[in-house]
């Protein structure tokens, strides 16, 4: 399934919406959009994973680098991770440096 990464800003929140399969060939797209999000110096970074079906270590590397580039007080919030995606993230132990949520901040 084709991967897409759409970035938008809501006030001081950067929202990156990921869809499809995030694997080795598509990791560069994710990395580029993540860098754009970081460049905007957001107060928080939200990754909407609701429509993300698959994630590999190539994507995890991007998350690790993003966490290291962002200031400590800027949270990375993962919204709507499907079971397989969340399992991969937790297996690697990076879940302790991220925030999981069922809904985007501000959604009712």
């Amino acid at each position: 399934m084709t991967f897409t990464a759409d970035l938008c800003h809501e006030d001081r929140t950067a929202v990156l919406t990921l869809t499809g399969d995030l694997d080795t060939p598509s990791a560069q797209v994710f990395q580029d959009q993540m860098q754009r999000a970081i460049n905007g110096q957001p107060d928080r970074l939200v990754l909407d994973l609701t429509a993300l079906r698959h994630l590999t270590s190539a994507a995890v590397r991007v998350l690790v680098v993003a966490r290291q580039k962002l200031a400590d007080e800027v949270p990375i919030i993962l919204v709507g991770a499907q079971t397989g995606v969340e399992r991969t993230i937790r297996l690697i132990g990076i879940d302790r440096s991220l925030v999981f949520s069922d809904a985007r901040p501000g959604d009712r």
Binding site: D23, P25, T88
Partner: protein, 151 residues
């Protein structure tokens, strides 16, 4: 029946590799989580070959089959000898992200995603096999069960 596919060892072949695994998972009627694990391990192992294996253009051969109790995928390449079962786990899994090295996670994920990962080197080829056990439904004892014939 064993399925086989041979592709150039380039990132352009990735889609074909994934389709191969999808077809096996579909044939086996794997649950989503098991199909995801099979694909994840294949992703990581193939990525490793494409990224680190070949200095010159090479090929990648995939084999796979659905057995009554398992699904397996075999990745065969003629790159430099490399045993993915001998690579130690990343040493910093318990550290916060700010203190971690970004790489070295792919083979760890591959090993932990599947029920078995084995490797052998034979006639100049790396042969890596991953296996996921199928969840075989309980059989109705009132219905005669005939196991599949070998071969």
């Amino acid at each position: 029946m064993t399925q086989r596919m041979r592709v150039p060892a380039t990132v352009d072949s990735f889609h074909d590799v994934i389709q191969f695994v999808h077809a096996l998972a579909s044939e086996a009627n794997l649950a989503d989580d098991l199909a995801h694990r099979l694909r994840l391990a294949t992703d990581e192992l193939v990525t490793n070959v494409l990224t680190h294996g070949y200095a010159l253009p090479g090929e990648l051969e995939l084999e796979g089959a659905v057995d009554p109790d398992r699904v397996w995928v075999r990745i065969v390449d003629t790159a430099v000898p490399f045993d993915p079962t001998l690579v130690p786990d990343p040493p910093d899994l318990d550290r916060p992200l700010s203190e971690r090295a970004p790489g070295g996670l792919g083979l760890f994920l591959a090993r932990t995603a599947v029920d078995d990962l084995s490797y052998r080197r034979c006639r100049g080829r790396n042969i890596t096999t991953i296996t996921v056990r199928r969840e075989v439904p309980d059989l109705d004892p009132s219905v005669p069960h005939h196991p599949p014939r070998p071969g």
